[in-house]
Symmetry: C2
């Protein structure tokens, strides 16, 4: 099910800059019992990205109305909002009077291993690196080929996620998630000022940290830092939080993440 | 005018990975008097990129037939071929049985300043940098946001092109062209092993160099190298070659490029 600029449609013009250049942004929201979770945070990130790319932001009430058209009152699933710069003349130059294309779709929740919360996620380190570019860092743009190449590195269904490094070998994020390390009472997550996507659930966890009795720190994280962590977890808007039990053979104790912490993140991410 | 998978159509599914992730490639060919120029070179680059991204390559005769359906026997213009990985399930993972989408469009030749060959192109240095990523370097992928942001830096119609550097400040290319420097009898062009698009016309010029009495060299080029160049020019498949007369106030002598050299490049690019 999809709405394109408010109309029931499942197609886009082949001259749309979203296709031609990946000139746009997207948000992926969990929907629980008919309600898009973390709506304000997702729309704030979309707005921030749109400002940085100079794409006019659609009306929020209109977007909300379109989401409600697609999502029945008791449904759960995944709501995706895509915002492109729309159609323009030939060439990279953005038009002064851009008329953006907004696409809203609703689909089923993806299935992951049922026991992932107890057995912990199995991760690998990807060979594909993230190029550094502060102009694009943090945003969830339609330029996602690095993630596609990284995700294409493995087909083993027992591997749940791959971690990606920048060109210097610092850990940045998972292909579809953000990474956190616990060490002592400190909650570490990689600095995303040069590359990576600043996930909405990452923001939730960072904001919750003081209530969890943890001091949040955003900094460079190396592969060596992994080995010295008490526990690892990854986050995104659909999974919430996954404890990590293995990274390329290196083992971590899932039970080092307190149940109350997991519960609090899941509650804030899906019920607040 | 457009053909999508061989059918007259101007739309694409909103679930196509070309839109969702920029998961695809494109080629832009000049068409002169009904003939797509440098067809073999463009299709060779497309094939090479498709192999690197693991996207199945369409049948070449079929593509040629589709180009001929769009282009009348005496027409000139721009033929664009887009190849995406097509539709898949949710998430970045490429499907094992990808059914690519191919889009072929034909449009008018863009207009540039009529006197650009005599007055020389006016260039600027863009602030937007190119992120380094050997996994993607050289290919003309649908991830082009860096070029969009760079091209958005100026609106002065007297500026014809912007040059882009990598994160270390080495010159890499123009937003829509490749860069060449002449110094003594040496023809220099930036190394594109970490970022940049390896233009088809760049390949033509490099191959012609010996016949032009020049030794081609592919290497790191700094802003300091610009100042010591005898002449500069930029290339792409639609413009052929533009002599450069100004880069951010720094002046160059267009006449340092021999007319016979320009003629030979244009002939090879548009008539061979």
């Amino acid at each position: 099910m999809a709405l394109v600029n408010g109309n029931p449609d499942s197609t886009l013009g082949v001259d749309d800059r979203g296709l031609l250049y990946g000139d746009g942004l997207f948000e992926t929201l969990a929907v629980r019992h008919g309600r898009p979770c973390l709506w304000q945070r997702h729309l704030a990130r979309l707005r921030h990205g749109a400002e940085r790319l100079r794409i006019p932001m659609p009306d929020l009430r209109q977007l909300r109305h379109e989401a409600e058209q697609l999502v029945g009152p008791c449904q759960s699933g995944v709501l995706k909002i895509i915002l492109t710069r729309g159609v323009s003349g030939r060439g990279y130059r953005p038009p002064d009077d851009a008329r953006p294309t907004r696409i809203v779709t609703f689909a089923d929740t993806p299935r992951y291993h049922a026991d992932i919360m107890t057995r912990g996620a199995h991760l690998r380190i990807c060979k594909t690196r993230l190029g550094s570019n502060p102009s694009l860092a943090g945003m969830k743009t339609l330029n996602r080929l690095e993630q596609v190449l990284a995700r294409d590195e493995w087909s083993d269904p027992e591997i749940d996620e791959g971690l990606m490094c920048d060109s210097e070998g610092n850990l940045i994020e998972g292909t579809m998630s953000n990474l956190f390390l616990l060490r002592g009472g400190v909650l570490l997550t990689p600095d995303l000022s040069a590359c990576g996507v600043a996930g909405v659930m990452r923001g939730v966890v960072l904001d919750l940290a003081p209530r969890l009795g943890l001091s949040p720190r955003i900094e460079k994280i190396t592969l060596q830092d992994l080995a010295s962590a008490d526990a690892l977890f990854v986050t995104n808007s659909l999974i919430g939080l996954w404890p990590v039990s293995v990274v390329d053979g290196l083992k971590f104790d899932c039970r080092a993440l307190s149940e109350s912490m997991i519960r609090m993140v899941m509650k804030e991410g899906f019920e607040a």
